[in-house]
């Protein structure tokens, strides 16, 4: 009887321990899952969209180009910037300064410098292309430079400027992007894990209405004006003849011109730098979908670039031309922002695999095979080919001379 009770106690304790371990493992898995879902911030992308065309919308293009320049200056490379512009200002017939675009009447900065890379220009800036860029659903033939190739570690800056209104944004005077379209696209992006954090910056009239429908977590948005307010241009350049910059972007740039790549001014300082009296509108931002605290997030998380070094101990070997076919190792000391760089195949470069064209006969019973192998190895081990060829040529000439003399 005591045995059975001991057995019962034992079985019960075994059962409880099993259950407890199962629970623990599931919780550990859950935690690790949660840990895995909060991925590392590895790269920054910027999507800069100017939705207007025609000469009198000069300031919208100047806005976008100024932000392009800022973002490049703070470190994001062209391959991670998608720039959508109508691009009809710089070479417009009305432009007194051909191939130059200014955002200030002092003409200090030429925004249309040497290295402006526009990805979608002219009539390619459409709502469809914009949504395709955001969601990543392109035709097969679209080149990589026109795709937003972000992943779950990306922080994306989305800047839009142009003419807008209550819950819409006008594209190139012929289409509209509505706020629920934008919210839908952002939701798709979140589902497909195309961003870790997203900052939407809108500089249009009644800008805050454009992101009113957003629900996805990890999104931060700021607009230049609230519902019912207009956003105004900053000043008129009497030389060019049109207004050259909008107020919201002007003060944003004023904030960024004080910064360089290594500063860690926070997002809250950016948001609080907007003075409604100067903007003549209220710059409204929403942080309810954003988990982090804006006081602690540096602006370079969105406007600059990530410089992360991955330390590795394996040696770097330069591969020469002759050994190209022999060495199979692919050692790379990666420091770029891509996740792909973390794949390192380390192998021992000392091990030389001989890819010879001449088949080496298996040695064994045949003595000739050994001789042939020896000859083949000697043939392949010969380094100084040129010398041998020269000797061969000299030998040929002497042979000719000797044979001629002999037969005459």
């Amino acid at each position: 009887m005591t045995n059975r009770s001991i057995n019962n106690v034992l079985s019960r304790s075994i059962l409880t321990t099993v259950i407890i371990t199962l629970l623990l493992s599931s919780s550990i898995l859950h935690f690790s899952d949660a840990a895995a879902s909060s991925s590392m911030h590895t790269n920054n992308w910027a999507v800069l969209v100017c939705t207007s065309r025609f000469w009198f919308n000069y300031r919208h293009m100047a806005n976008t180009l100024s932000l392009y320049r800022t973002v490049k200056r703070l470190g994001i490379p062209d391959e991670r910037i998608i720039l959508m512009l109508a691009d009809d200002m710089a070479c417009n017939a009305r432009n007194k300064y051909p191939a130059q675009v200014f955002n200030n009447e002092n003409h200090r900065l030429n925004l249309y410098g040497d290295n402006v890379e526009v990805d979608y220009r002219g009539y390619e800036v459409t709502v469809e292309n914009f949504l395709r860029v955001l969601t990543g659903r392109h035709e097969n033939a679209v080149p990589r430079s026109k795709r937003l190739l972000s992943d779950e570690g990306s922080h994306i800056l989305l800047y839009m400027t142009g003419h807008g209104g209550d819950e819409f944004l006008k594209f190139q005077d012929s289409e509209e992007l509505q706020s629920h379209d934008l919210a839908d696209a952002v939701k798709q992006m979140k589902e497909k894990r195309r961003f870790k954090e997203l900052l939407i910056m809108v500089d249009t009239c009644q800008a805050a209405t454009l992101f009113s429908q957003l629900h996805s977590p990890g999104v931060l948005a700021i607009g230049s004006s609230m519902k019912g307010e207009n956003s105004y241009s900053h000043h008129l350049d009497s030389d060019v003849g049109v207004s050259v910059v909008d107020r919201f972007t002007f003060y944003t740039l004023a904030f960024f011109e004080r910064l360089n790549m290594y500063d860690n001014a926070s997002l809250s300082s950016l948001f609080s730098s907007f003075n409604p009296n100067l903007l003549l509108s209220t710059a409204y931002y929403r942080t309810d979908l954003y988990q982090e605290q804006v006081e602690k997030v540096p602006v370079t998380n969105f406007f600059g670039s990530v410089m992360k070094t991955i330390h590795t101990d394996s040696a770097y070997r330069a591969v020469s031309g002759k050994d190209r076919s022999r060495v199979k190792s692919d050692v790379s000391s990666a420091q770029s922002d891509d996740v792909d760089a973390q794949r390192m195949t380390g192998s021992d470069p000392e091990r030389q695999v001989d890819h010879s064209d001449i088949k080496v006969v298996k040695g064994g019973g045949c003595p000739h095979a050994d001789l042939w192998n020896a000859i083949v190895e000697k043939f392949q081990g010969v380094k100084n080919v040129d010398q041998i060829v020269n000797y061969g040529l000299v030998g040929m000439l002497t042979l000719v001379a000797v044979s001629t003399w002999q037969s005459s």
Binding site: S320, V385, V400
Partner: protein, 482 residues
């Protein structure tokens, strides 16, 4: 026999060596003092994709950078040339590379001229011998008076085309040297030398392969002779017994030497292939070499302008390109056999005709090829003295060769002409070359018939004197076509 001929030539024409030296000095002066003004290497008539020295320098640089010399489809020549001429093309000092290269080509030209002279002397000796045995006295005097060797080699040295080729940094002088070396070896019955020359010439450019037939004939049956029928006819006129017609062609044909020639040429070919294989061991081997050299010549991939009949490939539909390629190359092959049958008794002249035809119809001709056969033309001045249209041909050559650079300039640099201008001169040049070949062949055949006439006169006289004797058949009457 030969020594007396040589002594007479030296006595009567001591100016050969001085003229030869003068032409060498002229070339050296032009190379040293005018290296940049005479830009012959940029002319399409002089340097072709197969012979250009600039491409050889590129191939050599590629080889030194551990890449295959055929990468990038620039160089299409032999890897052995890379080893020989490559180090000369390095720009050590400002102009020294040009000097060394130019010196190499001048030496090649000089050796070619000396060899042509030696061939000419042997040809002349053989000619005099055969004419003496035939008894054609009139022709004998002409043959003795004209030292064809000297004339031919001086024509070769002083031909403006040869000088231009030498200054134009193309590898044609070396190819010409190999061809003439093979002819010389065959004339002197030096079988290894002839085999070596033939193998090297075919290795450097594909077309000297057809020279196998005249070389075999030269080695087998000796130098140019009048047709064998004349010898037999003379014997026939003497009342000698008839020989078997079956062995007409095989009289004095030494098969042993021909077999030796084939053995030696296969030995040289193996040697050359092994050397090329070693030289290209690290890259891709002999297959790529064949594809890039012979395959390039045969498939005519580069259609940049040249002075050949290549133009129609620019107008050919892709679908028919293979057909036109076959027609283009068979053009040369079709002429090989009939000419061999007709001119088998004159193998040296046959070689000249083959060289001329391949210079006209090869895929990348240049003036260097023309220089060679114009030089060899001088070997046969005795027989070709009565050539028709000689002045017309001379002015035609001069005219097209002067107009061709002008048309090229109009087409490419000024833009006031178009491709038709340039290729009109190219086609006219081809026409004149063809007329030259046809006329030289026909005048050589006329010379043979004239010899027949000369010997029939002699035979008639002999027969007349013997006519009294009974039982002798009367000599047949030969009707000479006009």
């Amino acid at each position: 026999m030969e020594e007396s001929v040589e002594k007479t030539t030296r006595k009567k024409h001591p100016w050969f060596w001085s003229s030869a030296l003068a032409s060498i000095i002229l070339r050296l002066v032009l190379i040293i003092y005018f290296p940049n003004t005479l830009n012959f290497s940029s002319r399409p008539e002089v340097s072709t994709p197969v012979t250009s020295l600039r491409r050889l320098a590129e191939g050599y640089w590629l080889k030194r950078s551990s890449m295959s010399p055929y990468a990038g489809s620039m160089y299409h020549g032999s890897p052995l040339l890379l080893s020989i001429l490559g180090p000369l093309t390095i720009d050590r000092d400002e102009g020294q590379s040009h000097l060394l290269c130019g010196l190499a080509f001048v030496i090649a030209d000089f050796v070619t001229a000396i060899l042509i002279r030696a061939i000419g002397q042997r040809l002349q000796g053989a000619d005099i011998q055969s004419l003496k045995s035939l008894g054609a006295g009139r022709h004998l005097k002409i043959s003795e008076n004209f030292p064809t060797g000297d004339i031919a080699s001086l024509v070769y040295l002083w031909n403006p085309l040869t000088i231009i080729t030498c200054l134009g940094y193309s590898t044609s002088p070396i190819e010409n040297l190999m061809i003439v070396l093979s002819l010389y070896g065959a004339c002197k019955r030096l079988v290894p030398l002839a085999a070596f020359g033939w193998v090297m010439a075919s290795h450097l450019s594909l077309y000297p392969v057809i020279l196998i037939i005249p070389l075999v004939l030269l080695i087998g049956s000796g130098l140019d002779t009048p047709p064998r029928k004349l010898f037999l006819q003379e014997k026939h006129g003497d009342g000698y017994k008839k020989t078997k017609t079956g062995s007409l062609h095989l009289i004095n044909f030494s098969w042993r030497r021909v077999v030796l020639f084939f053995l030696w040429s296969s030995a040289w070919a193996l040697y050359v292939l092994v050397l090329c294989g070693i030289s290209l061991k690290d890259y891709s081997g002999l297959g790529e070499m064949f594809k890039r050299t012979y395959g390039f010549i045969l498939s005519v991939e580069d259609l940049s302008p040249n002075i050949g009949v290549l133009y129609f490939f620019a107008e050919v539909f892709d679908f028919f390109r293979d057909f036109f390629l076959i027609v283009f190359h068979i053009n040369i092959l079709f002429m090989v056999l009939p000419l061999a049958i007709r001119l088998h008794h004159r193998p040296c002249f046959l070689a000249f005709v083959y060289i001329a035809i391949s210079s006209i119809l090869k895929s990348y001709p240049s003036v260097g090829d023309s220089a060679l056969y114009l030089g060899l033309l001088g070997l046969f001045v005795n027989a070709l003295a009565d050539m028709q249209f000689s002045f017309f041909l001379f002015s035609g050559y001069l005219g097209t060769l002067l107009l061709s650079p002008v048309m090229h300039n109009l087409w490419i640099w000024r833009g006031t002409g178009n491709a038709n201008f340039y290729f009109a001169t190219a086609m006219a040049y081809a026409c004149f070359q063809i007329i030259l070949v046809v006329e030289s062949v026909s005048s050589m055949l006329n010379h043979d018939r004239a010899l027949k006439q000369g010997t029939t006169d002699v035979a008639k006289k002999v027969c007349q004197s013997l006519k009294d004797e009974p039982g002798l058949p009367t000599p047949r009457k030969f009707s000479l076509p006009k």
